[in-house]
């Protein structure tokens, strides 16, 4: 046991003297504030005046508050029991059942927490006596003496270690730690392959059929003949491969004759050799940061990306009309095969998607 204060020599029932300190019951001091500096720090005697009063100023109000707090705590207890009951009693496995379960569990949990919280707040405000106390701050900076002592100890240790006076030791230690510090970065190399030229190509090849993405059925040019049509297509055989789709997914749009603006020297436009029957294909991956750009306005011929509103002119080689995209959507060269199905006639002639350093 730690040192106890000298005990009062009061006789006990069994005749022995108690060795434990007795509580001093004094009258509450008139002033609530107390000063720490008046005492030796860390100690107090049973005879010191009370720092905190035992009861609040208004006992009647405190009694009412006590009842309110007790009621709130009981409410919380019931809510917690309700939570457990709701968990055991309510099943999920459908949207409606999940709704009921979420409502019951959430409501009981909220009441359980909020009731205790409100009770504790009323307890602090109305049952604990109101005090305002002052504590002195110490200047945060250490004294000159303390700093000097620290400096002395530290420099003595530095000298004793020999680190300062022996440059050979110091320099070879640093030389030893440099590659050791670099090694953990080096071993991360296998986190991924080198990019190589993979960003420059997609899987589209000459003769590869386009399928309507979703049903994954090939599409005849003759079935895509109404001006104003637009649909998302993917390369046949790759519709389950998200890595391929993330680069190869394409939109095709059908125009009435005479609407597409052909590409001319000095005036970029749609490359007509890459279209078939006024059907033009553009990459669906936005050249800004890669969202699928699929919002097609039939009346204005605009392709709008919903992420950051880059807008491309579908009649004019997907030139940029507005927004942050740096370059037009690449056009995919398309044609038809012997059965009339739409096919790609080669890969894109430039990398698709967001710009990167080696893009050129």
């Amino acid at each position: 046991m730690s040192e106890t204060q000298p005990s009062q020599d009061l006789p006990q029932e069994d005749g022995h003297q108690s060795r434990a300190p007795h509580r001093v019951i004094g009258t509450p001091p008139p002033a609530q504030a107390r000063r720490v500096l008046a005492e030796e720090p860390g100690t107090t005697t049973p005879e010191s005046p009370r720092e905190l009063p035992a009861s609040p100023a208004n006992p009647a109000k405190a009694k009412t508050a006590e009842r309110i707090v007790a009621a709130l705590f009981i409410l919380s207890m019931l809510a917690s029991i309700g939570f457990i009951a709701a968990y055991v009693g309510l099943e999920v496995h459908s949207v409606d059942a999940t709704l009921r379960s979420n409502l019951a569990l959430g409501l009981s949990m909220s009441v359980a927490f909020l009731a205790v919280a409100a009770g504790a707040t009323i307890w602090v405000r109305n049952i604990m006596p109101d005090v305002e106390q002052i504590e002195e701050r110490h200047t945060l900076a250490s004294t000159e003496k303390q700093r000097a002592a620290f400096k002395k100890t530290f420099t003595e240790g530095a000298e004793a270690s020999g680190f300062v006076k022996r440059p050979l030791l110091r320099r070879t230690l640093i030389a030893a730690s440099v590659p050791l510090a670099v090694a953990p970065l080096v071993i991360l190399r296998d986190m991924g392959p080198l990019p190589g030229t993979s960003l420059r190509h997609t899987v589209w090849r000459k003769g590869m059929r386009m399928v309507v993405y979703g049903p994954n059925t090939p599409l005849r040019a003759a079935d895509f003949s109404i001006p104003g049509q637009m649909i998302t297509v993917a390369p046949e055989g790759y519709t389950e491969n998200q890595d391929v789709l993330a680069k190869a997914v394409t939109i095709i749009i059908k125009f009435a004759p005479g609407v597409l603006v052909p590409n001319r020297p000095g005036q970029p436009g749609t490359i007509m050799n890459w279209t078939v029957d006024n059907i033009v294909a553009y990459s669906k991956i936005c050249t800004h940061v890669g969202c699928p750009v699929a919002l097609y306005e039939q009346t204005t011929h605009r392709i709008l990306c919903p992420c950051h509103q880059s807008t491309f002119d579908a009649t004019n080689g997907a030139q940029i009309l507005f927004g942050p995209a740096p370059r037009p959507l690449p056009q995919l060269p398309i044609g038809t095969d012997a059965d009339g199905f739409l096919i790609a006639t080669s890969d894109f002639h430039e990398p698709i998607g967001p710009a990167f350093w080696e893009l050129g």
């Binding site: 949207v95 709704l99 637009m230 039939q298 919903p306």
Partner: protein, 267 residues
């Protein structure tokens, strides 16, 4: 003094009157301006010469001013030759036509014709140049539909304009893709088929009728679904969640913090 006079003298009386006025105006306005009620399916009925004649008469009275007496269009409105009965049925049953305000695009509004009248006008326009027909009830029935495929197609080709929940979205220059909350299955089918205004065309040879039914099944299923997590906050995602988080979350907590730290009145 009467009880009304007594109540009138309370300090809260002024606020109560203002509140009553606001509520009355709000409820009244809300009741008066119903958004376009979904028109019931125009029964295909018979296509008789009388129907077409009746349709022509209605057309001349209500549509010819903008679309031309021969439906070949004027400066204000495009030609309707070849658009088909489906397009007419869509535009008229959603109340978009006859157009009142020629703005960036036509909004859905209360329908001014009966289903029989719409059917007549549709058949008249169809008689001028053919075009997609109004889908039958069987064609838009969603029983046995593949909602998984419908979900895939919806996300790939519809959600970029209409939002994954069908809440609608902004287009350029004041246009917008409308919300899909009130469209009937027939109207959804017709919209895909005819590509109204800025919407692209999704013909039956590209998205087959069965696939259209799958999409309709997904849309109707999704919008009828309850929200298990509480109020939906519009189902448009993080924007409303952020607003609720700051106002409902931090706001409420600030008031609670003020309660906890309030100075006690000297009792």
């Amino acid at each position: 003094m009467s009880w009304i006079t007594a109540l009138r003298r309370r300090p809260a009386a002024g606020y109560a009157v203002v509140l009553l006025g606001l509520v009355t105006i709000g409820v009244g306005y809300g009741a008066l301006t119903t958004s376009g009620s979904p028109a019931s399916a125009a029964s295909p009925g018979t296509v008789s010469p009388q129907t077409i004649a009746q349709g022509q008469e209605l057309f001349v009275r209500s549509c010819a001013t903008c679309h031309g007496i021969d439906a070949r269009g004027t400066a204000q409105a495009p030609s309707l030759v070849g658009v088909g009965a489906a397009a007419v049925d869509f535009q008229m049953s959603t109340g978009r036509m006859p157009a009142k305000d020629v703005g960036a695009q036509m909004d859905r509004k209360p329908v001014t014709f009966t289903p029989a009248q719409i059917h007549a006008v549709a058949e008249y326009v169809a008689s001028l140049g053919g075009g997609p027909a109004v889908p039958s009830a069987a064609q838009v029935s969603t029983s046995g539909a593949n909602t998984a495929l419908g979900q895939n197609l919806f996300i790939t080709d519809c959600a970029q304009c209409h939002n994954f929940d069908g809440a609608g979205g902004a287009l350029t220059n004041g246009k917008y893709a409308p919300a899909l909350t009130e469209s009937t299955p027939k109207q959804i089918y017709e919209a895909m088929l005819t590509g109204p205004e800025a919407m692209p065309v999704f013909s039956d040879t590209t998205i087959t009728p069965a696939q259209k039914r799958d999409i309709i099944a997904y849309i109707t299923r999704l919008r009828a679904e309850p929200n298990p997590g509480g109020f939906s906050l519009g189902r448009i995602g993080p924007v409303t969640e952020g607003i609720v988080g700051f106002i409902g979350g931090i706001g409420v907590l600030v008031f609670l913090a003020m309660w906890i730290t309030m100075k006690r009145r000297k009792s």
